[in-house]
Symmetry: C2
Subunit: 338 residues, 2 copies
């Protein structure tokens, strides 16, 4: 019955699914990183003009949405469906962004995999003929994350070498059934995978097994291998997690063909910016996708990428209760304009 299902975990949309526009808003540290020139706006104020970091994160998502709508020449009232989520407890970054905005909203929690998850669901909504104008969006904020997951910033806690730096940023993509732009041609839903890592300061290693499982599933379901892609991007494994993934892949006999890159390694200059193992957070893969990656597909530099959003499904409660960190990864295949 399911005509567009491929293998167990994957699907190809029936109708064309085009990412017609994208927008990225970044914070101060991100504006000092190697990808700065691709972001639509960078803000030097960590509060984004609001009174709290949480409300600042909301403001950042609003800026991403407004920029996206301006680029598309649309207004909020044109949006049929918006998929979004974030890292804050009860996803208040996303809910307050859309408060009384009159936009049909489906809330997600996929931790740092949310950009890929929202894009996957947007491609289902558009590709299945259920909606015409769909937005996929997410955000993260260093300061709101740090105090929620770890310590108050004023405490000045030491960071371990495997720790990552939560990106302050928001990315939004507009998905439509027609128009010019990169196309989503396949997607793979990930399983919750956990090899027992308990160190909340080493989320890259915790997420690497999920990334491997999803890349393997995508290759198997779509009957492709690494050569099919110009690049394979993981979301925020960072330097430690990327090495862990390469090592796990070797052990499984899976070749990634030198195609693997990680948004967490790209967004900061690890040597100069004191971010230890790299960037992380929902905003990490979101702002890299909604600038560098979609720009390169748009310009024709790349023909096809596999965008693999990675999420660490921990909470301070589960960590305090001594539980390990489950990971998840969703993959979306995006191709350049034909």
């Amino acid at each position: 019955m399911a005509l567009y299902k491929r293998g167990r975990q994957s699907f190809v949309p029936e109708h064309p699914v085009v990412v017609t526009k994208w927008a990225s808003i970044a914070g101060k540290k991100e504006s000092e990183g190697p990808l700065a020139s691709g972001f639509d706006q960078c803000c030097q104020d960590t509060y984004f003009g609001e009174k709290t970091w949480e409300q600042g994160e909301k403001r950042m998502q609003q800026m991403a949405l407004t920029t996206l709508m301006e680029k598309a020449g649309l207004s909020n009232g044109d949006i049929d469906m918006l998929f979004s989520g974030d890292l804050l407890n009860q996803c208040i970054g996303s809910s307050f962004t859309l408060r009384n905005a009159n936009i049909p909203h489906l809330g997600l929690y996929g931790a740092c995999s949310t950009m890929a998850e929202s894009l996957l669901l947007a491609s289902m909504a558009v590709g299945g003929g259920f909606a015409d104008t769909v937005v996929a969006m997410t955000s993260s904020h260093f300061a709101s994350s740090e105090r929620q997951y770890r310590f108050p910033l004023g405490y000045g806690g030491q960071r371990t070498p495997t720790a990552q730096w939560t990106v302050t940023g928001s990315g939004a993509a507009l998905v439509r059934p027609h128009g010019k732009g990169p196309r989503i041609t396949a997607a793979t839903v990930g399983t919750v995978t956990d090899l027992g890592i308990k160190d909340a300061s080493n989320m890259g290693a915790a997420m690497a097994p999920a990334a491997l499982a999803t890349i393997q599933a995508h290759f198997r379901d779509l009957n492709v291998h690494a050569d099919h892609f110009d690049r394979i991007f993981t979301g925020d494994l960072g330097a430690v997690g990327k090495e862990a993934l390469l090592s796990l892949a070797r052990r499984e006999g899976l070749s990634l063909g030198g195609k693997l890159e990680d948004c967490g390694c790209l967004v900061f200059d690890a040597k100069k910016q004191d971010v230890h193992a790299g960037g992380s957070g929902c905003g990490c893969s979101a702002i890299v996708l909604c600038s560098h990656l979609l720009n390169q597909l748009h310009s024709g530099k790349w023909k096809r990428i596999l965008f693999c959003g990675t999420g660490a499904l921990l909470s301070p409660t589960s960590t305090q209760q001594g539980l390990p960190i489950p990971g998840v990864c969703h993959a979306v295949c995006i191709e350049g304009e034909t």
Copy 2:
């Protein structure tokens, strides 16, 4: 292009979408309520055999999933896609349920609207031809919610008359493109609606405007009115919120035709069970849907219902920062077997 879109916020699935099986697991207080006989299992231990309430909530979801799979004669390996979420920070109830379970998982955050949200997305996945065997699932737990959102239980805080009692329960529904069972024939995605209620002990009133907006949107998009349905069920407005919704509807000139019922009012006997304004939580509408409602559709007592999951999108952080409580409501039209 979007053939199955109706109006702005709604869609009708292309292919048949059948809820072939459903399962509900309930806690002690729920087992003493008027719907007890419909639940598949009731557990008298608030820890569900685990060490913590959070892990107990996970165990409850696992029980719902296992019961569902047994009823369907399927195993976890047969599930193509599972949509779930819960109220715990970072949705650890859902993530830990699926840890290493080898089930493709898309995590949601829709607060107490999650049962309707997961069912809506499952109907999109199956109705669009992307998956064959999809599970929609959620849970809530009185004790894990109370200590996360309000006070430690041992503190013995007084409850206001408008307060609701979080249901301890988990519901799961299996959605497939064929088979016998009630069918999902339309769905409406809600907008985040907020009239400025700031009292976190009066979530029913905070959610009522969202319920009204979504019911109005469903009626408008599908060109139907209250007479089209045998019953209209809101998720967990409770007695106060239900009255608020009726009052708002009257003011808008919208007739609900005496069809409105609320799962939060049905799940407990408010007079005998000391639950003040009624039940709430993701588990509230989930266990009422996955017992009483689907059973009545299955038996032919009702021909068509509108199931409206209601969610209050607050967090302790937003409440402490003095912000109001945005609400959301998603609606799914379910029809009896033909």
